[in-house]
């Protein structure tokens, strides 16, 4: 089983962090893992994206050009990557920031107003983890029961206070 995941949004949304979360779970599950950030000039204010591959077999290219899970957290990202998803892919859209629908009809689409939920639930800057929670629920990229262990592994000890908030955000997205 191989998940080729592309997370995309703009700089500051925590795209790379949420990708790391999935990658860390893969590490803990002893899977083959790759995590590759875009590091181009577009990171400064423009689109930012991150390729994650979780697999049972040795990973070739770490570049996800045709994702089977696509997370779009702003319109330019959806515009840029919608066509690249494989048929049957699961596309997750932050509907509070993207006001159009996915045009393709050969993919499964999940709309979740993650940014709005984050602000309503007093989880500032955690729309990314709400999206990830929803991805876990609908695409099964990692077992839900691993969330807490993985989060504790990823978040450094001196930022312990953030663990609870991050877990809450994942939970919110998972149950949406």
């Amino acid at each position: 089983m191989t998940h080729e995941i592309l997370l995309a949004g703009f700089g500051g949304q925590g795209i790379l962090f949420s990708g790391k979360f999935l990658a860390y779970d893969g590490l803990l599950e002893d899977k083959e893992v790759s995590w590759l950030p875009s590091y181009g000039p577009e990171m400064r204010g423009g689109t930012c994206n991150c390729s994650i591959i979780l697999s049972d077999t040795k990973i070739g290219s770490p570049i996800v050009s045709n994702p089977n899970v696509l997370v779009a957290m702003n319109l330019p990202s959806l515009d840029k990557f919608e066509a690249s998803a494989v048929p049957g892919a699961k596309i997750f859209v932050d509907s509070s920031l993207i006001d159009r629908k996915v045009e393709r009809d050969d993919v499964e689409v999940y709309y979740i107003p993650a940014t709005k939920l984050a602000s309503d639930e007093n989880l500032p800057g955690l729309a990314n983890m709400i999206m990830i929670g929803h991805v876990i629920a609908k695409a099964g990229v990692m077992p839900y029961e691993n969330v807490e262990t993985t989060m504790k592994k990823l978040v450094p000890a001196k930022k312990q206070n953030l663990i609870e908030l991050n877990i809450k955000a994942v939970e919110l997205g998972y149950n949406y």
Binding site: G26, L36, P62, I63
Partner: protein, 356 residues
Amino acid sequence: MAEKVLMKGNEALAEAAIMAGCRHYFGYPITPQTEIAAYMAKRMPVIGGTFLQAESEIAAINMIYGAAAAGKRAMTSSSSPGIALKSEGISYLAGSDLPALIINVQRGGPGLGGIQPSQSDYFQSTKSAGHGDFKLIVLAPASVQEMVDLTFKGFDLADKYRMPAMLLSDGTMGQMMEPVSLEMGEVKEYDKSSWAACGTKCERKHNVVNSLFIQPEELERYNFERYERYAQIEANEVMYDEYKMEDAEICIVAYGVAARVSQNAIDKAREAGIKVGMIRPITLWPFPKAVLNAAADKVKAFISVELSMGQMIEDVELAIRCKKPVLLCNRVGGMIPTTEDVLNSINKANSVGGDK
């Protein structure tokens, strides 16, 4: 099996250098390798090492010369345009028979180029890293684990043969994270007392580290001696990896990220019944000539997949004595060939490669 951690290639490489006994790092920031310097800046003071951000790449490589002359394991890192600036110092290291490790996390060129991954410094590192007759041992990692293993190996080979070694990586390998084991073997210690300027304690004659030999007979002798050592390296230190070559009729030659993409294409092509495999050079110098030449008697065509306008392809053609056609599959300027790009080349090689 040691516990694995998830690390960026650049950071894993830096940690491996420290584990290999490197306590002297001199560098100057440039994307996409700055994490190496940042990591060293954090770690070196803690472990009693030296981190110094030099005023320029040229200064940094000459600091390496100093540390290496004193017999210490030293490392510098940069990316393509920065390596060009270091080339004078690299030649001086070679001319003075000094071991050191130089990291090139390549980006697109020429000129200031771009900041995205590239392999267009192949000629520079394998043929002409500076003026004069000399070689670098050139190691090409294709995973974060190899960023670690080859850093360790690079220091060892540099000491063993008293010459500079280069780790030729690219932006993808530097920026990506993969699970990696940092457990390495023992650091082999080399006795440097016969040549290093590390203090005489008034008990012996001075060692002189120098690359100026004004008598042509003497300079010629040093060059000949150096090339005898290079011949030993060519005989003993070639490293490569084979992927599905057992029954291959087409052979891809690729290193670094190009090899990773090629692996996907090979798997797909085999699903369609095309017998294709890969020989991945791990040492670009010494180049795995013999294994390629042997493969040329079995396969009908080669494909050189690289992020350059076609540099390694010349070594492939030389290695196989032009016995079989060699196709080029390439993207440049920071672009990376896709699996489909490589598949197209495989299909082409499959149809045109029949004539022997």
